[in-house]
Each structure stands twice: as structure tokens, then as C-alpha cells.
């Protein structure tokens, strides 16, 4: 069982890298300029425009393939920042004394009192949309990561291999980096997926609310709100961005779940 999963292991990162590369470089693949009208507004799908045209007659396919880069970049940056802060806080909480752990948990509780979307909206008053997403992801995601990592760290701290590392005189930073982090890699990978999902949700919400990229920029989230009025004329214009957006969220979520289960099984 375990061997099978590990053999399949490299396929998942490879697929993920391919997907990310496709989304980031999508604009090069677009058949038309995504910001220029090329047909009658709300043209249904045809041989020339496989997904039809949107409200201004722009090619939906070109807009879809170019529309994920910014969203994904912002989400990846936001989740990486949240993860880094969270892991650092979690190590401090789990490795430090009980009172340090309590203090960190207390700070985390404080930050979690405000829902992430509200935080992002409030931050968007003064900050540009992308920055607001990053800051809100860190403020609302890092405490969650810190909790999980801290709890696991407190467990692993008492395991035989960490103890024997201490008993051969390894220094604390070495123990943390060499013993604890690798042993928690599955957990951290799972959490990274969840952070990415949260960041993506925030970035999408802000874009739909008009606080992210501005028209005529192609963006999946923006396309959702732009093309909603024409749902009955060209449903493809609405579903075309919805599908890759849902996939981009679904894949890291299920990867996170798989990583979490593998780790739970290994104990």
C-alpha cells in the first residue's frame, strides 16, 4: 500500500508544476488578444471561437487561458507567506515552554476573531487588492498553521529520534531543521494546500467585488461577474472561467487531504 503511494508520488508534483506553468504562461497560448473585441457580443461557441464571445465581443477562450496567471501568482505568494509565518510560529509554540505555547495560542485566537474575508475587505480600504489578499492570508492563515504545526511539534518533540538527537548533543536549530521539519513535512504539505485554497478564495472574492484587477484585464474571477448577465445568451462564457477556477481550488484541497491521510497512516 505505502509503496504504491510513494511510487505514484512524483507524478503529483509533476502534474502540479505542469498545471501551474500552463496557467502562468497561458497568455502566450491565447489565439486572440484577450482585451480586444473580435466578434458580436455574446456570440455562442462556434468553430472560430470555441467558447464564444463575452459582453464586449472578446474571445472567451483567449480570456480564459490568460485569466489565471495573476490570480494564481497572488494566491501562491499569499499562501507561501502565511505558511512561512505559521510554521515559524508553530515551531516556537511547540518547542518552547508551555507558557510560550499558551502565548502563541492566545495571539492566534486574537487574530482568528475576525473572519478572513472581512479582514481582506477592511485591508482593501488602504491597500491594493493583491496586497490586501497577502496580508489577510497571513493574518488569518498563519494562526491556523501555527496551531497545527505547534500541536504536532509538541508530539514529535518527545519521539525517540528527536530525543536521541538531543542525547547526542545536537543543537536546537539543528534538531528543529534536521529532525522536526522533515518529520512534519507531510503535515506542512497538507497545510500548504489549505493555505493556498484560502488565499485563492480571498483573491477570487476581492476580484469579483471589483477590488482586484480592473477591466479590461482578463481574470477568471472578474469574468464570473462580467459574464453573469449573459448567462442565458452564452453560458459557456460563464462556465469557462468557473471550471478552471474550481479545479485550481479543488486540486490543492484534495492533495492536502491525501497528504494528511498519508501522514495519519504513518504516525
Amino acid at each position: 500500500m505505502i509503496r504504491m503511494r510513494l511510487d505514484r508520488g512524483p507524478a503529483v508534483p509533476a502534474a502540479a508544476v505542469t498545471f501551474v506553468a500552463l496557467v502562468l504562461l497561458g497568455r502566450q497560448l491565447a489565439p486572440y488578444d484577450p482585451e480586444r473585441p473580435v466578434a458580436v457580443p455574446w456570440s455562442p461557441p462556434s468553430g472560430r471561437l470555441p467558447l464564444g464571445a463575452d459582453a464586449l465581443g472578446r474571445d472567451v477562450l483567449s480570456r480564459v487561458v490568460s485569466g489565471g496567471a495573476r490570480l494564481l501568482t497572488v494566491s501562491l505568494a499569499a499562501s507561501a507567506a502565511a505558511l512561512l509565518c505559521g510554521v515559524a510560529l508553530g515551531l516556537v509554540a511547540g518547542w518552547g515552554s508551555a507558557s510560550v505555547g499558551r502565548a502563541v495560542r492566545w495571539v492566534c485566537d486574537l487574530l482568528l476573531a475576525v473572519p478572513a474575508l472581512i479582514l481582506a475587505l477592511v485591508l482593501a480600504v488602504a491597500l491594493p487588492g493583491a496586497t490586501a489578499v497577502v496580508v489577510a492570508s497571513v493574518l488569518s492563515g498563519a494562526p491556523l498553521t501555527a496551531r497545527v504545526v505547534g500541536a504536532r511539534c509538541a508530539e514529535v518533540r518527545d519521539s525517540g529520534y528527536v530525543r536521541s538527537a538531543i542525547e547526542r548533543g545536537e543543537r536546537t536549530p539543528t534538531v528543529l531543521v534536521r529532525e522536526l521539519l522533515p518529520a512534519m513535512s507531510g503535515l506542512i504539505a497538507a497545510d500548504a494546500g489549505l493555505r493556498l485554497v484560502t488565499a485563492l478564495q480571498l483573491a477570487t472574492a476581492l476580484a469579483v467585488l471589483g477590488l482586484g484587477p480592473q477591466p479590461p484585464a482578463p481574470d477568471w474571477a472578474l469574468m464570473l461577474s462580467e459574464n453573469l448577465p449573459g448567462a442565458s445568451l452564452n453560458p459557456a462564457a460563464l462556465l469557462a472561467p468557473a471550471v478552471p477556477l474550481a479545479l485550481t481550488a479543488w486540486l490543492p484541497a484534495s492533495a492536502a487531504r491525501a497528504a494528511g491521510r498519508r501522514m495519519g497512516g504513518a504516525a
Binding site: P115, V122, S140, L228
Partner: protein, 319 residues
């Protein structure tokens, strides 16, 4: 225990106000700059700042603002000049109706998903995390396209006459409520599934199985009572997040509630309105958590016992 839980809630509420205040007022580009943007000279900006009280240090301004807040003085909208309290009061019933309707659907869907999970012995459940991950806007788009665009069953825009009861047009509620409820139910299921798995691992549940009790009795007597507190916690969390989520659906569907007000105020940097509207979901989360804590304490007849249920809000995700 009870005063301690209360104290904690009050502290967290103060922290929430501090976060909201810090986010809106301390960051670069305050109201003075915005109002004067481009057109005004440096002196005009300074005068405007003084008029708005922005020349005072931030901590002092925060305490002043908190003092007003405690007395229920929410200030006036910078955009319309109307009292913020009036603006909110007009829109609260609509949002409350939306949240209540959504919660009902969410609770029903979650209960169904959990019952299925229990009957399958706590295994499986790959669907819920995936559904919870998909951004709310996708639900809005797909449901809007199908129910309103293609099938034409529901109005695409949920406009209500100002001041009219939201219950007068229940059809206007359906799309926004469904859009909010589907991902929320998926997320609540993810959170409670963990709690369910924990309860199923409790020794007395295994013992009841060994004694041959049928599944429905085990669920009713030996499992459900232990899910009460986690459920209330998740309910509190979901209520807060749903209230936050109204910002999106109200804007998309044009439903006249506080969420939509928050978004439009953010767009024009109407800080007093943003501050007040942002605190509503935060307060709901905190009050819900307080209720869960009190229930937890009441269920534990003797204080100081080890906490069996860890806080459930560890899985992450935005509303």
C-alpha cells in the same frame, strides 16, 4: 469558569476592534490623502486631516473611537453624511433573513452529510473538502447561470424595495442563500467529520459496539451528546463566516444588506461605515464561541477536566 469565558470574549472583541481599526486607519493612504487626492495642495490636505481628527496619534484615535463605539455612537458616513447606525439598521433585517435562511439549509445539509459519514463508519468523504475549497463566486456564477439564466426559475437580481420585509419576497432569498449554503455546508462537514471521527474513537463507543447496540442507538445515546459542543462551535463559526460571505453574494445579486454596504463603502473608502459593518461578523463569531464555551462548561460537571475536544477551527478556509 463563566466569568473567565466572558472576560475572554470581551478581550477578543477588543482585539477584533483593534485589528479593524489598525487595518483601516494606520495603514498608508488615510482619508485625508484620499479626499484631497490630486486636486488639493499640501495645506488643504493638512486642514482636512485636522478636521477629521487624523493629526492625533493613532492609539489616541483608537481609544477615542472605541469609546464612541461602546456608547453606540458609530459616527457618520463620509460619503452620504448619514449616521452609520441608520445605514446599518436599514439593511440589517435583510442580511439577518439571508443568514437565517442560509443557516437552515447549511444545518440540514451538514446533518445529512454527517449521518452518511457515520453510517459509513467515519470513512470516506473526499467530496466535502473539495466542495468547500471551491470559491463562493463559482457557486454564485454556476447557480445563477443555471437557476436563473438557463432555467429561468428565479430572479437573477434579488432587489428588495427599501424598508420592505425580506420575507415578503422569499424567492429573492433563494439564490443568495443557496450560494452561501453549499460551500458552508461542505466546510462545516469537513470540520465536524473530524469531531465525529474523534467521538467514534472514544472507548465507550467501541464498548457499545462490542455489546451489539444497533447503529441508531449508538448514534443517539453514545455519539450525538458528544457532538453538541463541537457543533455549536462550528455553528458559531459558520454564522460569522456566512455573515462575512454576504458581502460577496449581496454584491453579486444586488441584495440590499449590510454585506453589500460594506463592499460599496470599501470601494469609496468610507471608513466609519467599513469599521462598523466589519465588526458585525466578528461579534457574531465571538458571541457564538462564548455560547459554545458556556455549553462546554455546563456539560463538564466538574471543572479542570482534560479537554477532549480540541477547537475545531483548524482546517482553514475563508467564507
Amino acid at each position: 469558569m463563566i466569568p473567565r469565558a466572558l472576560l475572554r470574549t470581551v478581550l477578543l472583541a477588543v482585539a477584533a476592534t483593534a485589528v479593524v481599526f489598525a487595518a483601516t486607519e494606520i495603514l498608508p493612504g488615510d482619508m485625508g490623502d484620499v479626499r484631497g487626492a490630486g486636486r488639493a495642495s499640501a495645506e488643504d490636505v493638512a486642514r482636512e486631516r485636522e478636521r477629521l481628527g487624523l493629526d492625533v496619534p493613532a492609539p489616541v484615535r483608537y481609544l477615542r473611537w472605541l469609546g464612541h463605539l461602546v456608547r453606540g455612537e458609530l459616527g457618520r458616513s463620509l460619503a452620504s453624511g448619514r449616521p452609520v447606525a441608520d445605514l446599518l439598521a436599514e439593511r440589517l433585517p435583510a442580511t439577518a433573513a439571508l443568514v437565517v435562511g442560509t443557516l437552515t439549509v447549511t444545518v440540514a445539509l451538514t446533518a445529512l452529510a454527517l449521518a452518511v459519514g457515520f453510517l459509513r463508519g467515519g470513512r470516506g468523504g473526499a467530496l466535502a473538502p473539495g466542495l468547500a475549497a471551491v470559491p463562493q463566486a463559482v457557486y454564485a456564477a454556476v447557480l445563477g447561470a443555471v437557476l436563473s439564466g438557463v432555467l429561468g426559475w428565479l430572479p437573477a437580481v434579488s432587489l428588495l424595495a427599501p424598508g420592505s420585509s425580506p420575507w415578503a419576497q422569499p424567492r429573492a432569498l433563494v439564490l443568495p442563500a443557496l450560494t452561501l449554503a453549499l460551500p458552508s455546508a461542505a466546510f462545516a462537514t469537513v470540520l465536524l467529520r473530524g469531531a465525529l471521527t474523534d467521538v467514534l474513537r472514544l472507548p465507550h463507543v467501541a464498548d457499545a459496539r462490542t455489546r451489539g447496540l444497533p447503529a441508531r442507538l449508538i448514534l443517539r445515546r453514545h455519539v450525538a451528546p458528544f457532538l453538541l459542543v463541537p457543533s455549536v462551535r462550528v455553528l458559531a463559526l459558520m454564522t460569522g463566516w456566512l455573515t462575512a460571505g454576504t458581502a460577496l453574494v449581496e454584491t453579486v445579486y444586488g441584495y440590499p444588506g449590510t454585506g453589500g454596504l460594506l463592499v460599496s463603502s470599501v470601494a469609496v473608502r468610507d471608513v466609519p461605515v467599513v469599521q462598523a459593518a466589519a465588526l458585525i461578523p466578528a461579534v457574531i463569531v465571538l458571541v457564538g464561541m462564548l455560547v459554545a464555551d458556556l455549553l462546554d462548561t455546563a456539560g463538564r460537571h466538574r471543572p479542570g477536566r482534560s479537554r477532549r475536544m480540541a477547537p475545531v477551527a483548524t482546517a482553514g478556509g475563508a467564507a
